[in-house]
């Protein structure tokens, strides 16, 4: 089965600083999802990556999938208190056929941004 390891497990930064969260897979990633979770608000979809070398950005958040498709990174530029929360990566284990979107998740990275 596929396993995802996120690093760091927690991160405390000062407002305005850049930061990176990594998600490393034990197997090839066929689809990598990034979500943000805030208490009481469920998971908010950020981005989905499928192709090796793919990079997507939304506002100040950029996600990349490496060429070998075994690691993804999430980069936040000029962090703000509104970026605080838990960031989760989820992998679609599809290999050949379809996995029906059954995601395997990393354990999450807790981000705290001090004003």
């Amino acid at each position: 089965s596929q396993e995802l390891e996120q690093s760091p497990q927690s991160l405390i930064v000062q407002e305005g600083k850049n930061l990176t969260i990594n998600c490393t897979s034990s197997k090839t990633l066929y689809g990598l999802y990034w979500y943000k979770q805030k208490y009481g608000e469920g998971l908010i979809f950020l981005m989905m990556l499928q192709k090796g070398g793919e990079e997507k950005s939304h506002e100040k958040i950029t996600a990349k999938l490496d060429e070998k498709k075994q690691q993804s990174s999430l980069h936040i530029t000029a962090s703000q208190p509104s970026h605080a929360g838990i960031y989760l990566c989820g992998a679609d284990p599809k290999a050949g056929g379809t996995s029906y979107g059954k995601l395997t998740f990393g354990q999450g990275t807790i981000l705290t941004v001090h004003p």
Binding site: Y30, F45, G90, Y100, G101, K102, G106, G108
Partner: protein
């Protein structure tokens, strides 16, 4: 936009009681999922459905049952609640599964005492 709606948001159960977590989506999605999230852990798949009348087990199905009589609804039934089922439960949906955005509800916090 309602999206994926879960009820109840919070519930306390006694050991041995049963209950149903409700999930409904208004996006006409074929695929629906139930996950649980334990403290400090990622989400684990309990059950999923690829359409009305079709359900299948995920990684941690023991102690749960599901049904999918309509496209919109995917209730999760807990039979004989145990303390190990204390968790946050998330329902999710997607139009066609793999390669599509998967939308999550806001979660249901369940405590079994």
């Amino acid at each position: 936009n309602a999206g994926v709606t879960q009820t109840p948001k919070f519930r306390i159960l006694k050991i041995g009681q049963s209950m149903t977590l409700q999930c409904t989506q208004d996006m006409n999605h074929n695929y629906m999922y139930w996950y649980r999230q334990d403290p400090g852990m990622g989400l684990k798949l309990i059950y999923y459905s690829v359409g009305a009348g079709i359900t299948d087990k995920g990684e941690v199905p023991n102690g749960y049952n599901v049904s999918r009589s309509t496209t919109e609804d995917f209730p999760l039934r807990l039979e004989l609640a145990a303390p190990s089922q204390t968790s946050v439960y998330f329902c999710a949906s997607s139009y066609q599964g793999s390669g599509n955005t998967i939308y999550f509800g806001e979660g249901s916090w369940l405590t079994v005492v």
